[in-house]
Symmetry: C2
């Protein structure tokens, strides 16, 4: 045995509930879990390394099921804007100055932030995602779902009114599809990487392209991950293209694109009936609580989708907007936001938020046979959380385990002290084993300064509300 | 000069905006701020201690304007319950077993958690608050607003239906008033303590008692801090006592109790007109974003009250419910919750949340002449935040200071590394100077185990939803 964690509360997520084991122990052999049970039953003295899990929870690493980490250098750059300004006037002027290398630095920053707060799998949604995989995820030994963005819309859309239809460029779609296909070859058999197609959204892809992608996904036995029903701008394109009463869900259904092969991000612009249909078809959803709340003022329908019996998961989207890649914070946000939007303090209780970021995420991403719960034979993606902290005190086991709500409502993310991915210990006792985080912070600060200063003129000219916030001394 | 902080971003809160000073410095002489300006203008080499504030924000310590810290040992004990069950079936069975000493341990825990996350002033609302002041706040050198709870309702209300009027016991009210008056004598002239009357709520006090308290508050030049318009249960008492169309605000107005002497906590059960009237009368409000969201499923009207021009502040209430005493988390919650409830991503931007916890809190508590902003002559209640953290990277100053939104949206609270209260440095470089936090955690865990086990039978008998959550393996 390579690693044994003993004397701990195991939160296994086996079965319908949390599958808690008191005085539990976990054994790891190479890249897999070899023992899940009580400490008594494990001959842990044989292990190369023994981690004492006293006053700790040991659980599956968290799964960030939808994220664009490449823009992390723009954190805090587009905030508190009207939704209509966020992308073009807020983020746009800075985006233009981000180099390919800046995306890599951004991904490094986000992945380290995620690791520190317990994330072990990132569903990375990006153009040229292969670079991020090779230059960040693999060197850092981190599990990634590589999702290559595919779209066939001309990037030059600034001159269009929201009611103007986007132009499609078939060659662009084909090039992206080729890039995506290459990724499957490139990382075939890699234990840390799985791949998906990432058709950006129905307003960004033609139906024939989507059908083509779906067929290839069927051939490869993989999924499609798509932004679905994101709101006003998408709706305008859909009604203009397909007719007044059409919606994204209607078009996807008509073309046989709603299935358990589809991972649908956001879906806040859907009716109750549409969500029921999606659940019936086996579509998985990913909600990004902070991102959609802060960019759109909308709470993603995670609670509703779970209530309907659907598979749901949580993502952080990107740093500008929500401000972080911290899945503990996202669990708290998911629960609290769902409570207020339903005016119901019992809505989305902590165990549901915990499921969304573990076994739920694994199911949505099609990885539940290998990660998401603690079971013998699954990959060893494990985190421990130190409960012996002021904000997590007291720890009580009877008559209830108060540390379960506290894990969602009181934890900041900094209490994660050991992180193991695929059997490799990435963080031990709060310290990265092989990563110099300060040098990455330094590089990020250096590059961000240049990007923001280069963009300053464009940013002022774009004239978002942030410009006036700044002029009034608030930013 | 005793302490100089140099090379820092000062967030002064002087003027209407944030009053940022780049490459700033702050001087402290005994218990007061002696210099606020640029580093160039300060002869800091004369200082006994120099703190290098490079890559740090230096700002006023945060003000927690409404909290009951004494029940912190019950953290995680009453969560995800219907509002009607929370107090009696959820918290009640455990409350009975809390000794006076347990309240002191709870307060210690909460105050240390608050200090670690940047809170330097606590508006402590409790029965027998004097004990908490003497045994926790003064030994720890922490600023406190001591608010003695006053009510004259018999504690034995379990047998009453919500529609039954509470019995008043004048003797109980008089005893509480005497206790409150004693506090003013006891802490007179103490630089860390100011005092207020804490009439619990209109359903818990007769109008004559309230008028008596108000007169004494006028005589002493102090404020009244009261729970106001908290919802269904209060409303039932008010309409039953005063008539069908009556509300808390109408009764307070009729009796001349709405004034700038009143601090009103919560106020979510008020109409738009009532809030306008409160603002006109100069009433200050305190909202508790996590607490009210998680216990009632309601977002406190902080944004609305500020929009009306009222003085507003934020509090953490108590650990069970919101789960923490972390004011950085509360700033994030305040902004995000206000955005979704107004479907407006521009609502309650970060500078407003920052004002709510600094100068806004000071105004509501009547302490704005001495704390809440960085000005020469004010008390030295100062915190520094280390921005050189993964989750706060990058740091950019031009064309906007991205660290201002990041301070609210990306900070967990753990980035606070220096805490100074009244000129005393309580936390240096992330470490408490004179407090052994692990021994307090240990004591808290020991006591909580006993309390929860003692209460187990009552708790099961009370039969809240948490009992079934537990039976189904979720807790």
């Amino acid at each position: 045995m390579d690693i044994a964690i003993i004397n701990t509360w195991l939160m296994t997520f086996s079965g319908k509930a949390l599958g808690i084991i008191s005085n539990g122990a976990l054994g790891i052999e190479e890249d897999k879990i070899s023992y899940v049970g009580t400490t008594d039953g494990l001959n842990y003295k044989q292990a190369d390394k023994v981690i004492d899990g006293t006053d700790h929870i040991t659980m599956p690493g968290l799964i960030n099921s939808h994220t664009h980490t490449g823009v992390t250098l723009l954190r805090g750059g587009a905030q508190d804007l009207p939704e209509i300004e966020w992308m073009n006037k807020g983020l746009g002027p800075f985006m233009k100055w981000l180099t390919a290398n800046d995306h890599i630095i951004g991904t490094k920053l986000a992945v380290l932030e995620g690791l520190r707060s317990g994330t072990t799998t990132f569903a990375e949604y990006a153009g040229f995602v292969s670079k991020l995989v090779k230059q960040v995820y693999l060197p850092f030994n981190v599990r990634v779902v590589a999702i290559e963005t595919l779209n066939e819309v001309s990037s030059d859309r600034a001159h269009l009114k929201p009611t103007d239809l986007y132009d499609f460029d078939g060659a662009k779609g084909s090039a992206a599809l080729k890039r995506a296909n290459d990724i499957f070859q490139e990382f075939k058999g890699n234990k840390l990487v799985s791949s998906m197609y990432g058709p950006q959204a129905l307003d960004f892809c033609s139906v024939p392209l989507l059908l083509d992608i779906q067929q290839q996904a069927i051939d490869r036995g993989c999924k499609l991950h798509m932004h679905v029903a994101q709101g006003e701008r998408e709706r305008l394109q859909i009604t203009n293209r397909f007719g007044k009463n059409q919606t994204t869900i209607k078009i996807l259904e008509k073309n046989g694109l709603l299935s358990d092969r589809l991972v649908a991000a956001h879906i806040h612009d859907t009716s109750v009936d549409e969500r029921s249909l999606m659940v019936k078809r086996g579509v998985g959803m990913v909600g990004c609580p902070s991102a959609i709340s802060m960019i759109d003022g909308i709470v993603p329908p995670l609670g509703h989708y779970m209530k309907l019996g659907g598979n749901a998961a949580i993502g952080t989207d990107q740093a500008p907007g929500p401000g972080h890649h911290n899945m503990f914070q996202e669990m708290r946000m998911a629960s609290v936001l769902t409570k207020v939007i339903n005016k119901d303090p019992t809505a989305l209780p902590p165990w549901e938020s915990l499921q969304l970021t573990t076994i739920g995420g694994a199911r949505v991403l099609g990885l539940d046979k290998s990660i998401g719960s603690l079971e013998v034979g699954k990959r060893a993606d494990i985190i421990t959380i130190n409960l012996k902290k002021l904000n997590l005190t007291p720890i009580v086991e009877k008559p209830i385990r108060n540390f379960i709500p506290n894990l969602v409502y009181s934890t900041t993310g900094n209490e994660v002290d050991n992180v193991i991915i695929n059997g490799n210990q990435i963080i031990s006792n709060n310290q990265f084993s092989n990563i110099d985080e300060l040098s990455i912070i330094k590089e990020a600060n250096k590059r961000a300064k240049i990007i923001f200063e280069n963009a300053a003129e464009d940013w002022i000219e774009a004239g978002s509300k942030m410009v006036s916030y700044h002029q009034n001394g608030f930013l």
